[in-house]
Amino acid sequence: MPFRQPPSSRPVPTPAAKGQGAPPAPFHSVSQCRPALGTYVKISIVGSATKAELLSHSIEAFEVIDHIEKTMSFHDRDSELSRVNRIASRQPVTVSRELAEVLDTALELSWLSAGLFDVTVAPRLIADGHLPDHGQPIDFDATWEDIRLRDGLVHFAKPLAIDLGGIAKGYAVDRALATIPSHLDVVINAGGDIGMRPWRGQSVAIRAPSQGRRGPALTEVAMRAPAVATSGPFERREQSPIVCAKCRNAIVVPHTVSMFAPSCMLADALTKVAAICPEANTIWQDLGGIALLTDQKGRSAWLGSD
């Protein structure tokens, strides 16, 4: 494997150290990729620091991602989420700050979207084989309104199962990004859920669906916010992991829907809202979201904005 050329050959002006201190550290970059969150997570950090320092920041960010995955995995029977799903219908359960934060945002989005976004659609996803069946009783009529969250305590009014598959990946990206010191440039891409700093003037390529024997097309667009997440296309109902919370059926998403948003957690969740109901643009616009549709030929159109 070839060594990558560190970009240090080009002198980069950095803010001078205060006083007559040491000259600024040379400029380096590190890109690391690990399987995590069920996909490939890539972290790229660029800045005025040694390669070893950048790498240790990157490793720390991956540790944060691993911790969030262990907390919020539906697949893992031993995760904190699975424990909550098992017992919260019988008694209130104290949850970690991370889980409370994600649940709080999820419930707020459910309220704002009048239930279009709902983390209790697991039964449909289990039936379609997207999620494992842990054998616990689930009331199919339960909705987000049956989840009570107060002072870090969660209680279910009906037996239900929370799946954070539509929001936790974005949250993990946000938390990992926050661990990287602010003077470094960083991009975290968790299988298409991207958070970056700085984002102005950056671009992102949207992967359009495959066309026959050709690979998928890529369309480059300018970043419109610090984060972006993309859903779809899911042309067949049985393939689709996006469930309409109203009719409780998996939905067909003919285009890819990319959501630019102030945080990756919001981008991740709001892309599902836009996929389920493209007309509900006021919901994401009020939260600073901007939606882009991309068709099979890679043609893009902004959805309900401007």
């Binding site: 490939y40 950056q202 992102v204 949207i206 369309t219």
Partner: protein, 179 residues
């Protein structure tokens, strides 16, 4: 249209069907040496190449339910019997290069993706679009690293890595722990 033009364009059309325009985007991450440092720190590593017999490949494939494509395993061993193994799994269409560390008990200690490849229908060649960002500080800085290309799409599963890990832990069970 004369006959020659007709045959020419027919040939071009058939060729475009047989050999659709595609390109492979390869993103490289850590080097082998960097991955060794991340996974094993300063533990000394001894390079070992293990060649699997056909019989061993069959047994591993049966136990892991994953086909064993390569006969040769490129690996390093720690004094305590831990392993650093270079491996390839197939992603959606292309090979993905991995480095995997196994403890002396055959448990996965860590995984690093070294090269990630994906096939696309066409490459972005929008020079005018790119030009608008020239001279902007942060953009320029990130552009220094040509490998950074951020692609957003529906999540791609890393199931093949899980299969690859199953295959390698079985390989450890049947072969490596006895080397």
């Amino acid at each position: 249209m004369d006959r020659r033009t007709f045959f020419g364009s027919t040939l071009a059309f058939v060729a475009s069907l047989l050999f659709p325009k595609r390109f492979v985007l390869a993103e490289t991450f850590l080097t082998i040496e960097e991955a060794q440092q991340v996974l094993w720190g300063d533990t000394p590593l001894e390079a070992i190449t293990v060649t699997l017999t056909d019989e061993q490949r069959k047994t591993i494939a049966k136990a892991s339910k994953v086909r064993v494509r390569n006969k040769t395993i490129k690996a390093w061993r720690t004094p305590e019997g831990g392993w650093f193994i270079l491996d390839q799994v197939i992603g959606k269409h292309e090979n993905i290069d991995l480095a995997i560390a196994l403890t002396h008990e055959g448990k996965v200690k860590g995984i690093e993706v070294l090269t990630y490849r994906e096939t696309y229908g066409h490459e972005i060649r929008n020079e005018a679009w790119r030009a608008q960002f020239h001279g902007k500080d942060h953009t320029e800085r990130l552009r220094l690293d040509k490998e950074i290309r951020n692609i957003s799409g529906a999540t791609l599963s890393c199931r093949h890595v899980t299969d690859g890990i199953n295959r390698l832990t079985q390989t450890w069970q049947l072969v490596l722990q006895k080397v």
